[in-house]
């Protein structure tokens, strides 16, 4: 089915390094801004259905040696407000099982000061 290009919000409505819930058509989406890039995810946790926009936008910690904590992916990890599942804003994948668990992600473009979502 051909996707529609729908305006989600003005770019200046979402400050850099933040996330924001929007409604696009019948869909509840979460927009995450990193610089000039804006990512769009379905705003429902794959676990028990919480609005992930009520969680926090943060980083994660990379697996390394025991006792070693290395932060990475700053500003692109969404932690669910309920059970702390982590999602990567870039593709919606859940960090604990990226191959099998994710929230839907949508292509976006920024044109003329607006963020457009392909749905």
């Amino acid at each position: 089915m051909k996707k529609k290009k729908i305006a989600a919000l003005d770019l200046d409505q979402i400050p850099d390094g933040t996330m924001q819930a929007v409604r696009v058509g019948r869909r509840n989406l979460l927009m995450v801004r990193q610089g000039h890039q804006v990512y769009a995810l379905r705003n429902i946790c794959a676990h028990q259905g919480a609005r992930i926009s009520d969680g926090v936008l943060t980083c994660t910690r990379r697996g390394g040696h025991v006792g070693e904590y290395v932060e990475e992916k700053a500003g692109r990890i969404i932690r669910c407000p309920w059970h702390n599942w982590e999602y990567d804003a870039v593709d919606g994948s859940a960090l604990h099982d990226p191959k099998h668990t994710r929230v839907a992600s949508y292509q976006t473009v920024v044109e003329d000061g607006k963020v457009w979502v392909m749905v």
Partner: protein, 366 residues
């Protein structure tokens, strides 16, 4: 429903396909502390006689039977149950046609706060068992004791006898005052991995009982049942502390802690891992995968649901046919009979794994 099991063969010999019954928990003990005197340096002989020390460690509960043993397991010569090799051979090994047995001496030497005394007694006990039990019957493999309160002394003991061909396990306890995954023990586990020694975490111990959320239960029956909670705590500790990331060759046997709770523990650990990964980022795969790869449980005392099919379903929930090792716990009172313990509903192929193949693979028995 199978997973790959690492081979672990201390002798380098091919597994013996004629092995059909392995008992993964049989107990042996000395008759009295005097048995250890020939194996102790003079200074510790004098110290023990001066102090009147009989046996380190004490039981916190009157048991339901003398020495917590079967009434028929007391040798006619009056020696304690499990202290007479010939009697154990006749009553247990020969009678049940047991091909291999993992011997687990239970003794409080490793709990002594004087780690030097503990180290001396552990070494003496290990030497006694090697000479009088493990080397006397080719069916027997042994567990060694270590003075774990002092990592340097524990490593020294592992370096001393850990490569002995009849030693394949370190015996630890569930009631231990400590959690075995924690970092002070990691140098010991490094030595264990180096010598291909399984960590055998056995029911009970000589520390004040703390299995049930911090309080000591009033009765032996409570303690006996709820040691499963301690077993769960040790597994969670080993997983969360990253022991299996740090020591990928290390294996752990949970002995006499029950087994029906394992699926629920794996489910809970996996669930919490999904939300708490950032606290233990070194856990790059789910706890259940680590448990299936590194941990095995002995069957005794096997759970006995009213409908035996429920036990089979529980094993299915473990997600692997490799998890269980048959054990009797001879000579103790809660002994499981090789003829009756496993429900008939368990398929022959799975019975074969539980009775022998899993232990052969896990311990590298020949």
């Amino acid at each position: 429903m199978t997973t790959t099991t690492d081979q672990h063969d201390k002798t380098g010999m091919a597994p013996d396909s004629s092995i059909t019954l392995v008992d993964a928990d049989v107990h042996c003990q000395i008759r009295s502390i005097e048995d250890l005197m020939p194996y102790l340096p003079n200074v510790w002989q004098h110290y023990i006689h001066e102090s009147g020390l009989e046996n380190p460690g004490k039981s916190w509960y009157p048991k339901v039977k003398r020495s917590a043993s079967r009434d028929d397991a007391h040798p006619p010569n009056g020696a304690p149950p499990g202290s007479d090799l010939a009697f154990t051979q006749k009553q247990h090994l020969d009678y049940w046609k047991i091909d291999r047995a993992i011997m687990n001496p239970l003794y409080g030497a490793d709990f002594l706060y004087n780690a030097d005394l503990g180290a001396a007694l552990c070494a003496a006990y290990n030497d006694f068992m090697i000479e009088h039990w493990y080397e006397k019957d080719k069916r027997l493999y042994g567990s060694m004791m270590i003075p774990w309160r002092d990592a340097d002394l524990a490593v020294r003991e592992i370096e001393r006898i850990g490569s002995h061909p009849r030693i394949l396990q370190i015996i630890l306890h569930m009631t231990s005052e400590v959690l075995w995954g924690q970092r002070p023990f990691h140098p010991i586990w490094a030595a264990a991995e180096k010598h291909n020694l399984v960590l055998g975490i056995h029911w009970g111990g000589y520390a004040p009982p703390r299995a049930t959320g911090g309080a000591a239960p009033s009765f032996y029956m409570e303690f006996h049942t709820t040691e499963a909670l301690a077993a769960m705590a040790h597994i969670a500790s080993l997983v969360c502390e990253g022991v299996f990331q740090k020591f990928p060759g290390l294996k752990v046997a949970i002995i006499e802690g029950g087994m029906a709770w394992l699926p629920a523990l794996m489910w809970r650990l996996d669930k919490d891992w999904r939300g708490c990964r950032m606290e233990v980022p070194w856990l790059t795969e789910s706890p259940s995968k680590l448990i299936r790869r590194h941990i095995r449980l002995t069957t005794q005392p096997i759970e006995e649901p009213e409908n035996p099919k429920h036990l089979l379903e529980t094993i299915d929930h473990m997600g692997s046919d490799n998890m269980l090792l048959f054990a009797t716990d001879y000579p103790h009172w809660d002994f499981d009979s090789p003829a009756k313990a496993l429900p008939r509903q368990i398929p022959n192929t799975l019975q074969k794994r539980i009775f022998a193949d899993n232990a052969i693979d896990f311990y590298g028995l020949t």
